[in-house]
Amino acid sequence: MNGTTVSTADEYMPMAKEAGAISCVATVDHKRIGILYLVTTFFFFLVGGVEALVMRLQLAVPRNHLVGPGVFNQLFTMHGTTMIFLVVMPALIGFANYFVPLMIGARDMAFPRLNAMSYWLLLFGGLLLHFSVLAGGAPAAGWFSYTPLSESAYSSTQGPDYWILALLVMGVGTVAGAINMIVTILTLRAPGMTMRLVPLFVWMVFINSILIVLAMPALNASIVMLLIDRQLEAHFFTALQGGAPILWQHFFWTFGHPEVYIMVLPAFGMISEVVPVFSRKPIFGYGFVAGSTVAIALLSFGVWAHHMFAVGLGRASDLFFAASSMAIAVPTGIKIFNWVFTMWGGSIRFTTSLMFAVAFILQFVVGGLSGITFAVAPIDWQMTDTYYVVAHFHYVLFGGTLFAMMAGLYYWFPKMSGRILSEKIGKAQFWLMVIGFNGTFMVQHFLGIMGMPRRAFTYPDLPGWGALNMISTVGAFILGFSVLLLGCNIVWSLRRGTQAGDNPWNAWTLEWATSSPPPEENFERVPEIHGRRPLWDLAHPETARAPVKTDFCPEKNKTSMIVFIVSEGFFFLMLIFAYIYYNYTQKPGPDAASSLDARKTLLFTCSLLASSFTIWRSETAFKRRRHKPMVLWLIATIVLGAIFIIGQGSEYWGLLQRGITIRTNLFATTFFTLTGFHGLHVCIGLMLLTIVLVLMLLGDFKNFRPRALQIIGLYWHFVDAVWIVVFSIIYLKLLL
């Protein structure tokens, strides 16, 4: 039990050791948080599933009156939002939470309390979203909330506002979780586990977390702008005063397409763990699987406009995005062959887990191939926004990701609970799910080809439409039943399931090197790492290679701040982009030249830049262990920062005096949003610096141990750097 030097003990609350309900709430153990994630997402999965079943009932026959359009539109909006943000993403994060630290031989996540916070933000975000039902109606603008439909003129209930706030809350939690995951994987790997020896699931989660860190800010920035439109009557996405509804689509899909990969990459990781173990062979082409994942992640930021082929962006744009969308199919598609060739020549054990993995492969191929038909822009011009799309993304997300999660659940449940899920019920559930899933969604391809638009609450009784919709509805209920069966299996197996032992599948990664379920500190002793399959190497020492030293192991606090800064940088990029986009050409009303005094701004800009220098001096003094200069330079920093804020405040005051508010025109909208968010960051920085100062004065820095100053210093430099960009975009040309 005592194999660990508990240097992270200060990060555990003593409460977590207490038993009972309170420990569940107070826990910071990554395993229990992982379970909390999984239980929560299973609950939301049932909610989203019931929503889907009601929709399928409404669509079972033509011209049905079970629910009206109002309710139906809320149902599909909530179904989409729930399944994406409250089920698929957090369930994958839940698995990652439980297994990544185990698979890399760590004791916990890098920041256990931050980890708990991410979970609670998710839960409360989810509750906030559903609270909208009580507050006058759920959002009904679809999960991508196209403007201007989602603007207050056309969505007058508070649904979209709750939707925005809930997504922001969850978004913050998700980004925090992703940063935590990146830092965990970079810094807590067992000695000898270099980045090219990590299990593929860990690698995929790593790349996935990078995607989250880069993509979520795009969503956060765009929904913040939508919120400003709705609450402050600004004009980002209304067609009035030159706002561009299309810009919302660009912004949203900049997030939305990487999001698709955020929802499949960890699933790829699970398949890459399950298939080798049950085929008794290592993964075929580890380097290709891992490397192609990086390619997917990078390319995923360059393909979003394939969601917008019908918008009429212009031929050039359609051509390039068709090409890039086809390009991303290559690294995605070749993985299929890697998995198939992992099975080839193996000694396959047909457990439920493997059966789900095989179904995943075939169904994902269907979803991927229908995805190719969308990359072919002319086909997209026919098939987008029809049931063909609905079929396509359900094949990817349900037939793909959810089946992979099933494979992962049957594979890892013994580790989490100590008992194996019943294979007998499991196989019944598998077949029901395959039949139900394909019954529901295969026919939807045909419905799309027949011309049925998606998101329609009912449809005319044209030849064939009623019959196919009925098949789809029946399929959906079979699917629902299979989910119930899964629930039964879990409940039954928790009580009566076969005892698992440490390693029931004879698997090779580190999570199987400890007891099931693992003790709180995870490992009594982490085996020596020689290669990608530590437990195989233990059993076959004759083939094991010599251990290597860990390759790349940065300091965790600094790393987390750098990753956070990158994420914030992307947030500001969106705001800056909106400013440039809307101020290319002269618009009626005030503009930068007519309303801003660049000389005055230059003064307080200098003050902010000087504060970067002073905080650097303070850091230097900290490194040289000189207390007094450290404190003085820090005070200077705070004063300079405050001068900046006061300067900005007086600028705002002047504008408001002249009647220029955020609703005046697009210049004012984008100007106030961009500089306002920057000012907010400066204020947060000032607060943090003040806290550090107080701690210094209280004597916490006597031993020069805390790293807070350096970390906040990084943040402060970042805020200054953003201002340099903002200044050169808004003010510089006024000075020249």
């Binding site: 011209r63 009206g68 359009p69 109002g70 539109n73 196209y146 201007p148 439909l149 056309y154 561009a244 509804p245 299309i246 085929s279 008794r280 062979k281 290592p282 993964i283 075929f284 082409g285 580890y286 019908a310 031929r315 051509l319 068709a322 086809m326 390009a327 199919a329 290559v330 070749i334 198939v340 099975m343 080839w344 193996g346 000694s347 054990r349 047909f350 095989v358 492969i361 191929v365 229908s370 190719i372 038909t373 072919v376 822009a377 002319p378 086909i379 011009w381 026919q382 098939m383 926004d385 080809i449 027949m450 011309g451 638009p453 998606r454 609450f457 449809y459 005319p460 044209l462 030849p463």
Partner: protein, 325 residues
């Protein structure tokens, strides 16, 4: 009373395939190009799916592990194999891309002249404006075998104009104009729909394109310019009074009366149309009466309120609207 769109296709066996798979029943060169590339792509996809399925099936059949079998040969990969399937998939996609460029050029040539007619998407109906000043709603009459350039606009939110047998779909976006080539080579009625979710009644925002011989089309277009006839009967005259008294004029136009706003469909030639409520009901006296009695019951959420007309008013208004030929 009949059920909107469905009535158009009853007892029309020749058209059944066209209704069942409009995407694969093109009647214009544009739609033909789309159908063609779709078929090719589907065949390529089917071949790839076949290969993967075959490989998986072989794995399942040949490599089923026996109990207590020794561990198989531990192969970690084969670089040559990996590179060859990567290259193969790139080649397939390059081929598809070449076809894509061709299909795009055929199905969506650049707009090079002023538009022939303007289509405006409203929540939840379509306004159609012809260059000669005629205004129609929901039913788009076009002459056959002529390339028409459509100017697509939106009055409120984003909609999408889609008639699968005639060609691509195009979003109609507030603040932006898009253009689209529309052509039908054979006379007939072609079903379409709004494809972009646009709010409550997105489902009932159907389109009917009626392709006619040029002579028929010209006659129709000329007829649209005529003002509505004076009500022939006293009941109908009573109906016109109701129409004017009940604020219908705030939204609808009937040429020849003082009703001149275009917030809602132009009703000058209302009785000629085949459906009402953008496809919800067939246009006959009984349906019109039902609709007027409570539009919110027929099409919940639509922008026409329930005017709570009395039976007499209903009868009169229905009689009047039936005369708007």
């Amino acid at each position: 009373m009949g059920l909107g769109m469905e009535m158009r296709f009853e007892g029309c066996p020749a058209g059944v395939f066209a209704v069942v798979a409009p995407v694969f029943s093109p009647v214009s060169p544009q739609a033909e190009a789309l159908s063609h590339i779709f078929v090719i792509t589907l065949l390529v996809c089917a071949a790839i799916f076949g290969i993967v399925t075959l490989l998986v099936a072989l794995c399942i059949l040949r490599f089923r592990g026996k109990p207590n079998a020794p561990e198989p040969l531990q192969i970690t990969g084969n670089e040559r194999l990996e590179i060859s399937w990567t290259v193969a998939s790139i080649l397939v996609l390059v081929g598809l891309f070449v076809l894509t460029v061709h299909a795009m050029n055929v199905s969506d040539p650049a707009a090079d002249r002023p538009a022939d007619l303007t289509v405006i998407g409203h929540q939840w109906w379509w306004e159609v404006r012809y260059p000669n000043g005629a205004v129609a709603a929901n039913e788009i009459h076009i002459p056959i075998q002529s390339n028409l350039l459509i100017r697509a606009e939106a009055a409120d939110v984003i909609h999408d104009f889609w008639v699968p047998q005639l060609g691509r779909k195009i979003d109609v976006i507030p603040g932006t104009t898009n253009s689209l080539w529309l052509r039908a080579d054979a006379p007939g009625e072609y079903l379409g729909t709004c494809a972009e979710y646009c709010g409550d009644e997105h489902a009932w925002m159907r389109i009917l394109v009626i392709a006619q011989s040029p002579a028929d089309f010209d006659a129709w277009q000329a007829r649209q310019l005529q003002a509505a006839a004076t009500p022939p009967s006293t009941l109908a005259a009573e109906g016109l009074k109701v129409f004017r008294a009940k604020t219908c004029v705030n939204c609808h136009t009937i040429k020849g009366t003082d009703a001149e706003t275009s917030v809602a469909p132009n009703l000058t030639h209302f009785a000629e149309r085949t459906t009402i409520g953008t496809g919800v009901l067939t246009n006959d006296a009984e349906s019109v009466r039902l609709w007027l009695a409570d539009p919110q019951k027929i099409k919940p959420g639509c922008h026409m309120p329930n005017f709570e007309l009395t039976t007499n008013e209903l009868n009169a208004l229905t009689a009047y609207l039936e005369t708007t030929k």
